[in-house]
C-alpha cells in the first residue's frame, strides 16, 4: 500500500533524512519511532506531498507521489503535528469544508460528516467554535479531518502529543479501531505507544532508518541469549552450580537475597527452552519455586540499543550482554 524507496531530503549541506525505505501492507499499522528531530515529520510531509524530496520516491496505493500527486492526495488523510484548524469555524463547518476540499460532494458530504462525528465522538461539540475546544477535542477534530473522506491511507504525526493520559487512551483506542479498514502510519517518540497500537515499527534516528520489524523480532535481534528470571524461597549454597549443570544453561547470575528468597537470572542459548528442566530441578531440590518468567527486552531497550549503537555510544547499560557481533550491521 505504501512503499518508500530511498527517500532523501537535504537543506543545503544539512541532511534531514537519507535513504529512507520501507513498505507498509494494506490494513497494517506502522509506527515511526525516533527521538525528536530524527526525521519523522520530514518523511511524513514528503509522503503527503506537502514537501518534495531531494532523492528517491514513494508509491501510495500504486501511485507515484511525484508523478500523480492528485491521485495520492485523494487517498491520504493527514494529521500534522499541529492540527490544521481554522479559528473562525465551528467543528461541523470545518469538517464540511475539509470533506468538500477532499473531493466529496452533495449527499456524500452530509453522510461523511455524520459518520466522522460519530466515529470521533464529536457529535455534541459539532456546533462549537474550534478555538473554544479543549486540547483533546482539538486533536480529535484533527483526526476527524484526516478521516472525513474515508481515505485508504492515514498518516498521523504524533497524534497523542500534549494530551492527558485519559485522552491518550481514547485517541489510541480510536486509532486501533481504525486499523484494518485503513493503512496507518503514525509517528511517535513515546515507545509504549508504538507497542500498544502498531504491528510493526520503523526506528529512525538522525534521518536514517535503523531498523524495520515487528517489536518481537526487534528484541530478538538485539538479544543474544534467552533470559529467565527464577525466584526461589529457599536457595542453597550449591543452587548456582546445580543450575549451571543443566543442558543449555550458559550463565547463572544470582541477585541479592531478600526476605522472600532469592532471584537468579538464568541465561541459556538462543532457541533453547529450559523452563521445564528448571522447574523440575527446583522442585526436586525442594527450593520452593516462587516465580519464573522469560525476560523480554522492552522496546525501550531495543530502541536505546539501536540508537546508541548508531552513534557509537556504549550500549552496556542496556540490559543485554555485551554484543559479540553487531546485530544490524
Amino acid at each position: 500500500m505504501i512503499e518508500a524507496i530511498g527517500l532523501g531530503k537535504r537543506y543545503g549541506p544539512h541532511v534531514a533524512i537519507e535513504d529512507v525505505s520501507f513498505a507498509v501492507q494494506k490494513g497494517e499499522v506502522l509506527a515511526f519511532l525516533g527521538p525528536n528531530g530524527a526525521g519523522k515529520t520530514t518523511t511524513m510531509r514528503i509522503l503527503t506531498g506537502f514537501m518534495s524530496a531531494t532523492a528517491g520516491t514513494a508509491r501510495i496505493a500504486g501511485f507515484d507521489i511525484f508523478d500523480h500527486p492528485m491521485e495520492v492526495k485523494r487517498r491520504i488523510g493527514y494529521l500534522a503535528e499541529n492540527p490544521p484548524l481554522y479559528r473562525e469555524m465551528t467543528v461541523a463547518e470545518y469538517l464540511t469544508f475539509v470533506a468538500k476540499i477532499k473531493g466529496l460532494s452533495g449527499r456524500q458530504v452530509t453522510v461523511a460528516l455524520g459518520d466522522v462525528l460519530e466515529k470521533c465522538a464529536l457529535g455534541h461539540v459539532a456546533k462549537r467554535l474550534i478555538p473554544n475546544l479543549s486540547r483533546g477535542y482539538k486533536q480529535r477534530v484533527g483526526l476527524a479531518q484526516a478521516l472525513v473522506h474515508n481515505p485508504e491511507v492515514l498518516i498521523l504525526d504524533e497524534p497523542t502529543t500534549g494530551l492527558d493520559p485519559q485522552q491518550i487512551i481514547e485517541i489510541r483506542q480510536l486509532i486501533t479501531s481504525l486499523a484494518g479498514g485503513h493503512t496507518i502510519i503514525l509517528s511517535t517518540h513515546i515507545l509504549p505507544e508504538a507497542t500498544a497500537i502498531c504491528q510493526r515499527v520503523v526506528i529512525i534516528n538522525k534521518g536514517r532508518v535503523v531498523a524495520v520489524d515487528s517489536q518481537e523480532h526487534l528484541s530478538a535481534r538485539v538479544r543474544q541469549t534467552e533470559q529467565i528470571s527464577l525466584g526461589v524461597r529457599r536457595p542453597q549454597p550449591d543452587t548456582v552450580s546445580i543450575l549451571n549443570t543443566l543442558t543449555g544453561v550458559c550463565r547463572v547470575t544470582p541477585k541479592p537475597m531478600d526476605d522472600n528468597g532469592q532471584v537468579f537470572i538464568v541465561e541459556s542459548e538462543l532457541g533453547q527452552d529450559i523452563r521445564e528442566a528448571l522447574s523440575e530441578t527446583v522442585y526436586k531440590n525442594g527450593w520452593g519455586l516462587l516465580e519464573m518468567r522469560a525476560i523480554t527486552l522492552s522496546l525501550e531497550d531495543v530502541f536505546l540499543h539501536l540508537t546508541m549503537q548508531e552513534t557509537g555510544l556504549d550500549p552496556a547499560h542496556v540490559e543485554t550482554p555485551e554484543p559479540t557481533e553487531t546485530p544490524l550491521a
Binding site: 485523494r74 493527514y78 499541529n82 490544521p84 481554522y86 473562525e88 476540499i101 460532494s105
Partner: protein, 254 residues
C-alpha cells in the same frame, strides 16, 4: 473549478465572520462618501450662484465636475485599505498550519491562488457596488452621464483586482500579516508614483511611464477606455497571480 468555488465560499465566510471586511468597507465608504457629498454640494452651490447672477451657464459636465474628483480620491483610499484586506490571505494559512491541510488536499496551487483572489476581489467589488447609490440618488436632480460612469467603475474594478493580486502576492511571501501589508503598500505606492516627475522622451522614461499605475487608471476614471490601459491592468494582475502561484508552489521545494 469546483475547488475554486469551495475556496471562494470559505474565504468569503472568513471575511464576513471576522470584522475585517466590515471595518475596511466602513472606512472606505465613509471617507469616499464624505468626499462625494461635499463635492456634490459644492457643485450644486456653484450652479445656484450662477443661476442667481443670471450668468451664461456653461454646459455642466456632471461626470467631470461631480464624479471625477471623488473617484480619483477613491483610488488612493483603495490603495491604502486594500492591503489590509489581503494581508492575511496566505500568510495566515502558513502561520496557522492550515497550509498543511490545503497542500495535502487534492487542490492545485493555482486553484488555491484563484480562490483567494476571487474572494477578496469580490469583497472589493461589493464595496464599489455600494457606491452606485451616488448616481442613483442624483438621478432625480440631474441627467447622469452613464457611459463615462461605466468606464470609471470598470477602471476602479480592474484596478482593485490588481491591488488584490499584488496584496495576495505580498501575503504569499511571509507568515507575518504586518510584513505582508507593508510589502503590498510598498509595491502599490511604488507603482503609483513611477513615471511622475520625468518629462523627457527617452526609452527609459517611456517604459517607466508605462508602468505608472496612476496614469492608466486616470484614463478610465475620466471616461476613456483604452486597450493599452486594459492590457496594462489585466496583464499586471495575471503576472502578480502567476508570481503568487510560484511562491505557493515553491514552499514545497524549501
Amino acid at each position: 473549478m469546483r475547488n475554486i468555488g469551495i475556496l471562494v465560499c470559505k474565504e468569503l465566510r472568513t471575511y464576513f465572520i471576522s470584522p475585517i471586511a466590515y471595518v475596511v468597507a466602513a472606512i472606505f465608504l465613509a471617507i469616499s462618501s464624505y468626499l462625494f457629498v461635499s463635492q456634490a454640494m459644492y457643485i450644486s452651490a456653484l450652479s445656484m450662484q450662477m443661476v442667481r447672477f443670471q450668468q451664461e451657464i456653461p454646459p455642466l459636465d456632471i461626470h467631470q465636475t461631480v464624479f471625477l474628483p471623488p473617484f480619483l480620491n477613491m483610488t488612493i483610499i483603495l490603495l491604502l485599505v486594500l492591503p489590509l484586506l489581503t494581508m492575511r490571505l496566505i500568510a495566515e494559512e502558513a502561520r496557522g498550519h492550515t497550509m498543511e491541510l490545503l497542500a495535502t488536499s487534492p487542490v492545485r496551487s493555482i486553484e488555491l491562488v484563484m480562490g483567494k483572489f476571487l474572494a477578496a476581489w469580490l469583497v472589493v467589488l461589493i464595496m464599489l457596488a455600494i457606491t452606485l447609490h451616488w448616481p442613483l440618488m442624483l438621478m432625480s436632480a440631474t441627467t447622469i452621464a452613464w457611459k463615462p460612469l461605466f468606464s470609471s467603475y470598470l477602471g476602479l474594478a480592474l484596478m482593485s483586482g490588481l491591488f488584490v493580486a499584488i496584496g495576495l502576492f505580498a501575503s504569499s511571501l511571509t507568515e507575518n500579516q504586518i510584513i505582508a501589508a507593508v510589502i503590498s503598500f510598498g509595491i502599490l505606492i511604488g507603482l503609483w508614483l513611477t513615471g511622475s516627475g520625468s518629462s523627457d522622451n527617452s526609452t527609459y522614461t517611456s517604459v517607466i511611464g508605462y508602468l505608472s499605475l496612476s496614469a492608466h487608471v486616470e484614463h478610465f476614471v475620466r471616461g476613456l477606455i483604452d486597450t493599452r490601459d486594459l492590457t496594462y491592468l489585466i496583464s499586471m494582475t495575471v503576472f502578480a497571480l502567476f508570481l503568487t502561484h510560484l511562491m505557493v508552489e515553491s514552499r514545497r521545494w524549501k
